[in-house]
Amino acid sequence: MWIAVLGTSAIAFALKYFGHSVPEKYLTNPRALRINILIPIALLSALVAVQTLTVKSKLVVDQRLAGMAVAVVALLLKAPFPVVVLGSAAASALTFHYLK
């Protein structure tokens, strides 16, 4: 885990420093900029799905899905970020105790 911690940190810093150091023309290709906007969307969406519906390599439907349903409703109602996270946690915890 330390490898992940330090590796992530080293690359994160290198990317930030790189941005301050390179001439602008190298990173302004429109296609690269478009892809740069889309990559976080794809990765974050995948993380949402994997962390809601899987345990290790199995697909599992459990209390987390109830939590995500509440998160979606909260976001549709334009609730602020803390409300989304806490609402989701509360729904998941209640479902967990109800199922148990």
Partner: protein, 228 residues
């Protein structure tokens, strides 16, 4: 005299924006600290990520991938793909902050969504306010984010089973909260749904972490063709 009054008013506006953003965003450090512990990272490792990586989405990603059983390499790759935008922020900020030597090291470390956002938000107040916004917000978020990471991590250690407190849903909900505002057109919404479907359908068949990274290819494919 009039000049001085104006300068100090500019400072106060920028300082207020910087502080409110720093504190609000720093609070999310609680969620990260808790997520790190829930994913099996130690208190020290969780805090090291906030001190050294200092990029929220990348930090959540690395604990998310390793927590789901992924390797260090897949965790680092996912986090780094998410951290690439900081390079673009650095590119945008460099001509404004114009820093060299050791200050560039500090400046680079605090080049994140929020410091860039507040700085660009001060553009009507002039270059000096943009510089102040960048430094005040960057340093402010750094301080609050790290304090609240410790709070969240200690809290989660005291809780025991993360599922009993809904922490297992809070982490993906945080990701959803991060991605939601980015879905501004149909192409992006289709990509989000496709990425969810791809990662879920790959999960039973490939090593943990790969289903997440592979969706970056989906983003490349969508971005290659899309107009505007």
């Amino acid at each position: 005299m009039g000049q001085n009054v104006r300068v100090s008013r500019v400072n106060r506006t920028t300082a207020a924006a910087s502080f409110s953003v720093s504190f609000t965003v720093g609070l999310y450090g609680i969620a990260f600290g808790a997520a790190g512990i829930a994913a099996g990272f130690s208190l020290l490792q969780t805090c090291a990520l906030s001190l050294l990586t200092f990029s929220g989405a990348s930090q959540f990603a690395v604990v998310g991938v390793l927590g789901a059983g992924g390797t260090a390499i897949s965790g680092i790759t996912t986090a780094s793909l998410l951290g690439f935008r900081n390079a673009l922020y650095g590119l945008r900020m460099a001509p404004i902050v114009r820093i060299k030597g050791w200050r560039r090291i500090v400046g680079a470390q605090i080049t994140i969504d929020e410091s860039t956002g507040v700085s660009l938000g001060q553009s009507e107040l002039g270059d000096r306010a943009m510089r102040e916004g960048f430094w005040l917000t960057g340093i402010g978020v750094y301080i609050f984010w790290n304090i609240f990471t410790v709070v969240g991590a200690l809290g989660a250690q005291a809780m025991g089973d993360p599922a009993a407190w809904g922490l297992d849903a809070a982490v993906p909900a945080a990701f959803l909260g991060l991605v939601w505002p980015r879905l501004t057109n149909k192409n992006e919404r289709v990509l989000a749904v496709a990425a969810m479907a791809l990662s879920i359908s790959l999960t039973p068949f490939v090593a943990a972490g790969i289903p997440i990274i592979s969706t970056a290819l989906l983003a490349v494919a969508f971005g290659w063709k899309a107009r505007g």
